[in-house]
């Protein structure tokens, strides 16, 4: 793919470091690490408007570089190296950094290969013309068990170029699509409005199927710790409310059950 990125956009600290490291020729007697560390800091400086999360990832590496630089200027001194390279001598930190940078470069190369593969693949168009009229009648009844809300979820996802991707996910494979989709539709409605009653969720004139599938969806979401339910009176309307992950944790739902 023949485009060049003009601005200094780097995919991460390794990407930037790799760029700096391979950009310049080595001069005889150059103090490499020192130069690289300085240039790295300069770049971070220019990335002033980066958000904090991203910047912090670059800063961890900057700290490491500075330690290595310092130790190269002041030999024999045991220096403290922050974060994940904690408790390592500058020499060890350097070795690890070199190894990680080489590994990163390897995957960057692999990514390049994947990219050109995808490009090649885009030049071949698979047969997908669809069935001839004579075979159309063989198509199954795909409306079976489908609710209107499920249809809305499908369209909303397509709008956002999300592929509704349920078939290959092993953990939902045993579940009929309509329930999974319906659970998702209830989750979204509740997360949108923060709270909804059962009767609001099923709507007017709901068929028994819709009532049952909505009820099952609510139980499922409750089990997954995504909603909370309250029913004040016997046969009263069930109030379903949105539960943030923090709320869920506070309620004691085990971390691994969330989003499963």
């Amino acid at each position: 793919m023949g485009y060049n990125v003009k601005t200094d956009v780097f995919e991460g600290p390794f990407d930037l470091l790799l760029h700096l490291v391979s950009r310049q020729k080595l001069d005889v007697n150059a103090i490499s690490i020192s130069d690289v560390a300085d240039q790295y800091l300069e770049h971070i400086d220019r990335m002033a408007d980066l958000d904090l999360d991203v910047a912090s990832e670059f800063l961890v590496l900057a700290a490491t570089l500075l330690e290595i630089k310092a130790s190269s200027l002041l030999p024999r001194q045991e220096a403290y190296i922050g974060d994940e390279l904690d408790d390592l001598s500058p020499q060890e930190a350097r070795d690890i950094l070199v190894a990680r940078l080489i590994a990163y470069k390897q995957f960057k190369n692999a990514a390049g290969e994947l990219s050109s593969r995808m490009e090649n693949e885009n030049h071949m168009h698979p047969r997908q013309a669809g069935l001839e009229t004579q075979f159309l009648g063989l198509m199954p009844d795909y409306l079976e068990g489908l609710t209107l809300h499920a249809l809305s979820v499908i369209c909303a996802d397509l709008e956002h170029k999300r592929e509704v991707f349920l078939l290959e996910a092993e953990h939902v494979a045993s579940m009929p699509i309509s329930l999974e989709l319906h659970a998702e539709s209830v989750r979204r409605q509740v997360s949108h409005s923060k709270q909804a009653t059962f009767s609001e969720l099923v709507g007017k004139d709901a068929t028994p199927e819709v009532i049952v599938v909505t009820f099952l969806a609510i139980l499922e979401l409750y089990k997954r710790g995504l909603i909370d339910i309250v029913q004040d009176a016997l046969f009263g309307d069930i109030v379903v409310s949105h539960l943030s992950p923090e709320d869920a944790a506070a309620r004691g739902v085990a971390e691994e059950d969330i989003h499963e």
């Binding site: 168009h125 047969r127 997908q128 013309a129 669809g130 069935l131 001839e132 009229t133 004579q134 075979f135 159309l136 009648g137 063989l138 198509m139 199954p140 009844d141 795909y142 409306l143 489908l146 209107l148 809300h149 499920a150 249809l151 809305s152 979820v153 499908i154 369209c155 909303a156 996802d157 397509l158 709008e159 956002h160 170029k161 999300r162 509704v164 349920l166 078939l167 699509i177 539709s185 979204r188 409605q189 949108h192 409005s193 004139d205 068929t207």
Partner: protein, 208 residues
Amino acid sequence: MSENTAVRGPLEALLFVSDEPVSAARLARLLEATPGEVESALAELAQEYRDAERGFQLREVAGGWRLYTHPAHHDLIEQYVLSWDTRRLSQAALEALSVVAYHQPVTRAGVNAVRGVNSEGVIASLMEKGLVREAGRDKNQGNAILYSTTRTFLEKFGLKDISDLPPLAAFAPDDDTERAIRERLSSTEMSAFEVDDSADDDEIAEVD
């Protein structure tokens, strides 16, 4: 082989991705050849497939040329189609149906654009099931056919009319998407979906 060899490959490729009959004139324009050359290459190709007893054939039907499976394999294909994964099929059909429902009237290109894949076969099957119907032509898009949902669709889902569909924004996967969908649905520049309303009214009677 004949002087048609040079056109043959490109011609086959075009027919291969076509899901409707294509006229020789249109093929000729695409290939920058004369309709005569294309006609003769098409006839030769059809003959070639027959001679080699291929599993498919090239036929001239109303309006143009299209590749079809050979009728000899009808039963086999029927058996094959019945063995298809219903859920995968349903997924494709439901996607197309949901796009038609929310964006109607919409051209096939519009449905393709939202789904990211060719939707011809799926739309045909939705029509076959009486859920989707043709609803006029889009003059701004080379008279492409517009599709809408039918009364059967409304009945199946207990809707009074299309405005009764739940607002899409309430089903957005996250807040950003919700905003995006709102903007897109309220925007007037949805060229792919834009049409005059006249198609809407005269239709219901026609189909059901």
